[in-house]
Point group: C2
Chain length 230, copies 2
DNA sequence: TTAAAAAACTTTCTAATGGTAAGTATTTCA
DNA sequence: TGAAATACTTACCATTAGAAAGTTTTTTAA
């Protein structure tokens, strides 16, 4: 165990509190005082563990993106075929413990930090890259390499688009709608002759079932929250 | 002419200055002092014409979105067929006087204001709706109504996704790449048997040529800047 | 033309904010 | 045990958003 285990714990607590603050008050309404208040400590403690507001937001950003990638990893554990792994990626990105109005709005708030924060930029680019490369890897089973790249890129941009839309709209967000839109895209992008429609449907069902157990479990939620924070 | 023509002019100047500030310093780095400095006036003037920072940002947001819709309107003037109008929408959304790193980054910064600002939300939803409805109207020529809606929705989400990506990345943004990705999507979504490939290509060429003259013209740029601000 | 009403602009002040610095208390470990 | 590191606190400062009250300029209408 690191000598700075308290620091690790505090940083986790504080970035969680900051995440809540962003959800509640937006980025502009999130002050160090409020973050401290939510975490039950003084502003001084916040600045003791994070050198400034930018690095606090960076941790929040990492947390919010980490939640997603941990979900993909979790669902990958159960996915055994390309069909299933493809759905694992999609379902992980839109499962309703993560893809809901509050979180999407927070994400939209947070990305405004990206253009002027090199570290956030690195995180975001890495996440996009990983997502795209995961998608490509599975799509290669259904399309030639060059086309697979295009399709993967297309789907990953689409995922971002759906997230932004969800964050911009005031209305509630539907996990099912988003997943349906992804299905529509897949059906258009991947050639039906290379796909086994039955297998495809079965894969989606399986992964959605697995997700509803695995991603909702307290154990997973706890683990991700612990893992995610530096 | 409105009795408040000075007010109109000032609001235009100030929201332009604020837009520049957001580009330069990001949303969090944009202060009323800096906005005033860029506009060559004191902070007091800024607050005299905008009741608070939120309403200033709202005007900036309107400006940035208005730039887009004015471009669509401008290109529509030259578009005579569904093919051409479809490309008019796409080219307007990605032409490089608007779709460039600075503007995309500013847009990404600005949308963080949306979740906690009802007015910005209204603007954003209206723009999305209009864009989607424009797309749908043209796509209906190539697909049955129900499918056209899905395709239009898909393309408009994709446009948002490409904009976000462009704003998140540090590297320069390529208008051509974005347009190519839209073309890829169109080719996958619209049935090739319902489309005249030659006409399609010709339409794209025509609109791109028109855009490079029309959207770059000083007259258009000036007009939009004047029109856009309330 | 001129008085007064309205709008444009300035100045001054305040509470809140991000951040620093200089402390004290607690933990760790040699 | 005792000193070095870490956790936390407090007091402070410069900047910020915004309010309030003032002054100048422009409109309007008698």
């Amino acid at each position: 165990m690191r000598s700075s285990s308290i620091r690790t714990i505090r940083r986790a607590e504080l970035s969680k509190a900051a995440f809540e603050a962003v959800i509640k008050f937006g980025l502009r309404g999130t002050t160090l005082d409020k973050v401290g208040e939510i975490a039950g400590v003084s502003k001084g403690v916040v600045l003791h563990h994070f050198k400034d507001k930018s690095s606090l937001l960076e941790a929040v950003f990492r947390r919010s993106n980490g939640l997603l990638s941990e979900s993909v990893v979790e669902l990958y554990r159960f996915a055994e075929t390309p069909y299933e792994r493809l759905w694992a990626i999609i379902v992980a990105n839109f499962f309703d413990t993560i893809f809901n109005r509050r979180v999407c709005q927070a994400w939209v708030s947070l990305i405004s930090e990206v253009p002027h924060n090199k570290q956030c930029q690195r995180i975001q680019i890495a996440c996009n890259q990983r997502n795209q490369s995961n998608l490509k890897h599975e799509i290669k089973h259904f399309l030639p390499k060059a086309e697979a790249l295009l399709a993967a890129r297309h789907l990953s941009v689409l995922i971002d688009g759906l997230w932004v839309r969800a964050g911009l709209l005031s209305s509630n967000v539907s996990s099912n709608n988003a997943i349906s839109e992804m299905e529509y895209a897949i059906n258009k992008l991947l050639p039906s002759d290379a796909m086994d429609v039955e297998k495809h449907k079965a894969a989606r069902n399986k992964i959605e079932t697995v997700a509803s157990i695995s991603l909702s479990s307290k154990a997973f939620q706890k683990q991700t929250l612990e893992v995610i924070n530096c």
